[in-house]
C-alpha cells in the first residue's frame, strides 16, 4: 500500500475487536515483518497500539522548533525595526523598547510558525503528500480495518492465521 506497490496479502476485518486482536497477535512475528495496518478512523485503542509500536510521535519536535522560532522571530522583528527607525510615541524616549507591546507579536508569530511546523511535521512523518498512493481495499476509508502483509501468499500460513483471527476476506495483491 501507500507508494510501495509491494506484493503480498490483504486481510480485511469487519469487526474492530477481531482486528485489534489480530494486530496484537501478529506483532513481532518474523513472518509478518513489514506488515502495515489501515483503519477508517483513529480509535483510542488503535492509537495506544501505535504509540507502543512506534513510540511518541516526532511531530512534537516540529511544533517546539516552530514555536521557538516564531517567538524569536516575532520579538526580533519588532526590536530590529524599532532599532532601524525609533518612533517617538507619546513623547517617550526613542530607543526604549516596549517589550510588553512586542509580546503580542512574539505570541502571534509563535502560534503561526508553531502551527505551520506542526502541519509540516504531520505531513513529513506521515509520508504525505503521496500522489501515487494505491488503494488496497475500497472500504478502508469507509468501514473496514485492513492488514497488509508483504511477501505473503493467499494460501500461505500468514493468510490462514489472519482468517483464523477473524478476517472476513484475505486476498493477494
Amino acid at each position: 500500500m501507500g507508494a510501495t506497490h509491494k506484493k503480498g496479502i490483504v486481510a480485511s476485518f469487519q469487526y474492530f475487536d477481531d482486528f485489534l486482536d489480530s494486530i496484537k497477535a501478529i506483532k513481532g512475528k518474523p513472518e509478518f515483518r513489514g506488515h502495515e495496518i489501515y483503519s477508517p478512523c483513529s480509535y483510542h485503542e488503535l492509537m495506544e497500539f501505535a504509540e507502543e509500536q512506534m513510540g511518541p510521535s516526532q511531530v512534537r519536535w516540529f511544533t517546539l522548533v516552530g514555536a521557538l522560532t516564531g517567538v524569536t522571530a516575532g520579538f526580533s522583528m519588532c526590536l530590529l525595526l524599532d532599532y532601524d527607525w525609533p518612533i517617538v510615541v507619546g513623547g517617550k524616549t526613542a530607543g526604549v523598547y516596549s517589550l510588553p507591546a512586542y509580546f503580542i507579536f512574539g505570541f502571534e508569530v509563535m502560534i503561526l510558525l508553531g502551527a505551520l511546523c506542526t502541519i509540516a511535521g504531520m505531513l513529513i512523518m506521515g509520508r504525505l503528500p503521496n500522489p501515487r498512493s494505491w488503494v488496497l481495499h475500497p472500504r478502508i476509508t469507509d468501514d473496514r480495518f485492513v492488514v497488509f502483509v508483504p511477501n505473503a501468499l493467499p494460501d500461505g500460513d500468514q493468510a490462514r492465521l489472519l482468517q483464523e483471527l477473524g478476517a472476513e476476506e484475505v486476498y493477494g495483491v
Binding site: G2, A3, Y15, F16, D17, D18, E36, I37, Y38, S39, P40, C41, S42, Y43, L46, M47, A50, E51, M54, P56, S57, Q58, V59, R60, T63, M77, C78, L81, W85, I87, V89, S98, A101, I104, F105, F107, E108, V109, I111, L112, G114, A115, L116, T118, I119, G121, M122, M125, G126, R127, N130, P131, S133, V135, L136, I140, T141, D142, D143, G166
Partner: protein, 447 residues
C-alpha cells in the same frame, strides 16, 4: 453528551449517508444560494459606490470615524470564535458531541474571518493602498509601522487566526477527502487524491495526524482567546470613556463565543435538513450547543452588569455619564435590543422542553446574533459620539451605503458557506465514527 445518544446507525452508514446527501440537497438549498448571491451583488455595488465616490458617502465624520463597518468587522471576527471553541477547545476537553458539528463550525469560522478581513479594507476606503498601512512594510519615508499600536496587533492576530483556522479545517478534511476519492472514478478520483494528499489511513498516518491535530488544537486554544482580546484592545487601549476598561478582553471573548454558538445553531439546523443529516447531527448534539449558548449568555449578562457597576463604582463621571446615556440617551434603542436579545431571550433555554424545540431555539439564536451586532454598534458608536469635550459631540446613524455593504457581507459569507456544503461533507465522517458504537463481534457488557 454523545454517550447518551442511542444511535440507530452504524459506522457503515456514515459515508454513504453523508455523501449521498451531498448529491441531492433539498431545493431550498438553491433558493438560499440564490438569495445569498443577490445580497453579495448588492453589497458589491454599494462598495463600488463607496470606492468611486469616497468615504464621505458612508456618513463617517467627526467625531464618529468608526461606525457600521468596524461594527461588522468585530461582529464577523466574533462569529468565527465558536468554530474554534468547538473544534479546538472542546476537542481538548474530549467533549464527544462536538464531533457531529465541528466541521460546520470550522467552515463557519474560516468564512466568517475571511468576511471580517474585508472590513478593514473597506473601511480604509482606498483599498489598493491598504497593504502599506496594514503590513509591516516601510512607507515612502522608510518609516516602519508602529508596533505599539493595537491596530497593528490586530493585523497580526487576525491574519494568524485565519491561517491557523484554515490549516486546522483543511487538515481535518484530509481523511474525508480520501473517503470521497474512494467512492468516485476518473478525473474526480485524481482530484480528490490530490486534495487528500494521497491519504491512505495507515497506522503511521493516523499516529502522526492525531498527535499533530492535538498540538494544533493546543495552539488554537490560546490563539482564539487572544484574538478577540486583541480586538477588544483596539478600543480598551484608548482613553475614550466607555472603552477604557480592563473587563473588555474577557467580555469580548464571551460575547464572541455567544454569537458564534448561536450562529452555528442557526446554520446547522437548516443545513442538516437541506442535506438530510438528521440521523448524524442528532437533537442531543443540538441541545448541547444550546446549553453552551445559555452558558455564554449568562457570562455576557454578568459582564454587562459588572461593566455598569464599575462605571458607577469607579467614580469617574465621564465613564458613568456614557453608561447612563447608553441606557437612556439617543442610542437607548440599540442598548435595549442588545440587552433583551443577549441576556433576556436566551433565558428560555433553561427549559429542557424549549431546548428541544428547534423552532424556538432557531428564532432565539437569530435574535442573539441581532443582539450581538447591536452590542458592537452600541459599544463603538455611543462612546465615540461623546468624549471629554462637549464641543466635539455629534450624532451618527448608519447610512444606506453601510447597510448595503453589511447585507453584502452576509451574502458573501453565506455564498461561500453554501458552496462548501454543496461539495464537501458538512459532518466530519472520520470523527463522527469515533462517537458511534464500535463494530464489535463480542458485544460489550450491558448492551
Amino acid at each position: 453528551m454523545s454517550d447518551l445518544v442511542t444511535w440507530d446507525k452504524t459506522i457503515s452508514d456514515v459515508n454513504p449517508g453523508i455523501l449521498v446527501g451531498l448529491k441531492n440537497p433539498h431545493p431550498s438549498f438553491y433558493v438560499a444560494l440564490s438569495i445569498s448571491v443577490v445580497c453579495l451583488i448588492i453589497g458589491a455595488v454599494f462598495w463600488g459606490i463607496e470606492i468611486s465616490q469616497g468615504m464621505g458617502v458612508t456618513g463617517l465624520n467627526a467625531p464618529v470615524y468608526w461606525g457600521v463597518l468596524i461594527t461588522d468587522f468585530v461582529f464577523w471576527v466574533g462569529i468565527g470564535h465558536a468554530g474554534t471553541l468547538i473544534s479546538a477547545i472542546l476537542f481538548l476537553f474530549r467533549a464527544k458531541w462536538r464531533n457531529s458539528i465541528n466541521r460546520s463550525a470550522e467552515a463557519m469560522t474560516v468564512f466568517a474571518v475571511i468576511t471580517a478581513g474585508l472590513f478593514p479594507l473597506i473601511h480604509v476606503g482606498r483599498v489598493w493602498v491598504a497593504a502599506y498601512w496594514m503590513l509591516p512594510l516601510p512607507n515612502t519615508n522608510n518609516l516602519w509601522v508602529n508596533f505599539r499600536s493595537p491596530l497593528m496587533w490586530d493585523v497580526f492576530a487576525i491574519s494568524t487566526y485565519l491561517t491557523v483556522s484554515l490549516l486546522f479545517w483543511y487538515m481535518g478534511l484530509l481523511p474525508d477527502l480520501a473517503s470521497m476519492r474512494d467512492r468516485v472514478t476518473g478525473f474526480k478520483r485524481i482530484l480528490f487524491n490530490f486534495m487528500s494528499f494521497g491519504w491512505t489511513g495507515s497506522l503511521r498516518q493516523w499516529h502522526h495526524y492525531e498527535t499533530g491535530y492535538g498540538f494544533l488544537a493546543a495552539l488554537a486554544t490560546p490563539l482564539v482567546l487572544s484574538v478577540h482580546s486583541i480586538v477588544s484592545w483596539d478600543f480598551a487601549m484608548s482613553m475614550q470613556p466607555g472603552w477604557h476598561t480592563t473587563i473588555f478582553p474577557p467580555y469580548f471573548v464571551a460575547g464572541a463565543i455567544l454569537s458564534g454558538c448561536a450562529m452555528v445553531y442557526s446554520l446547522v439546523l437548516p443545513l442538516r435538513w437541506m442535506f438530510h443529516l438528521e440521523g448524524f447531527i442528532r437533537k442531543e448534539h443540538l441541545e448541547a450547543l444550546i446549553r453552551l449558548t445559555l452558558l455564554t449568555s449568562t457570562i455576557v449578562a454578568y459582564a454587562y452588569g459588572i461593566e455598569f457597576f464599575i462605571a458607577w463604582y469607579s467614580g469617574n463621571e465621564y465613564e458613568w455619564a456614557i453608561f447612563q446615556k447608553r441606557a437612556t440617551g439617543p442610542y437607548a434603542f440599540y442598548f435595549w435590543v442588545m440587552t433583551f436579545c443577549n441576556c433576556i431571550f436566551p433565558l428560555v433555554f433553561w427549559s429542557k422542553k424549549i431546548r428541544n424545540n428547534t423552532t424556538v431555539c432557531f428564532i432565539v439564536c437569530v435574535l442573539v446574533n441581532v443582539g450581538m451586532w447591536f452590542e458592537r454598534y452600541n459599544i463603538i458608536v455611543s462612546s465615540l459620539v461623546e468624549d471629554f469635550l462637549p464641543s466635539s459631540w455629534g450624532h451618527y446613524e448608519p447610512s444606506y451605503i453601510e447597510m448595503g455593504i453589511t447585507l453584502g457581507s452576509f451574502g458573501w459569507f453565506f455564498t461561500w458557506l453554501l458552496i462548501f456544503c454543496r461539495f464537501f461533507p458538512l459532518v466530519s465522517m472520520s470523527e463522527l465514527k469515533l462517537i458511534m458504537p464500535k463494530p464489535l463481534r463480542k458485544k460489550p457488557e450491558g448492551h
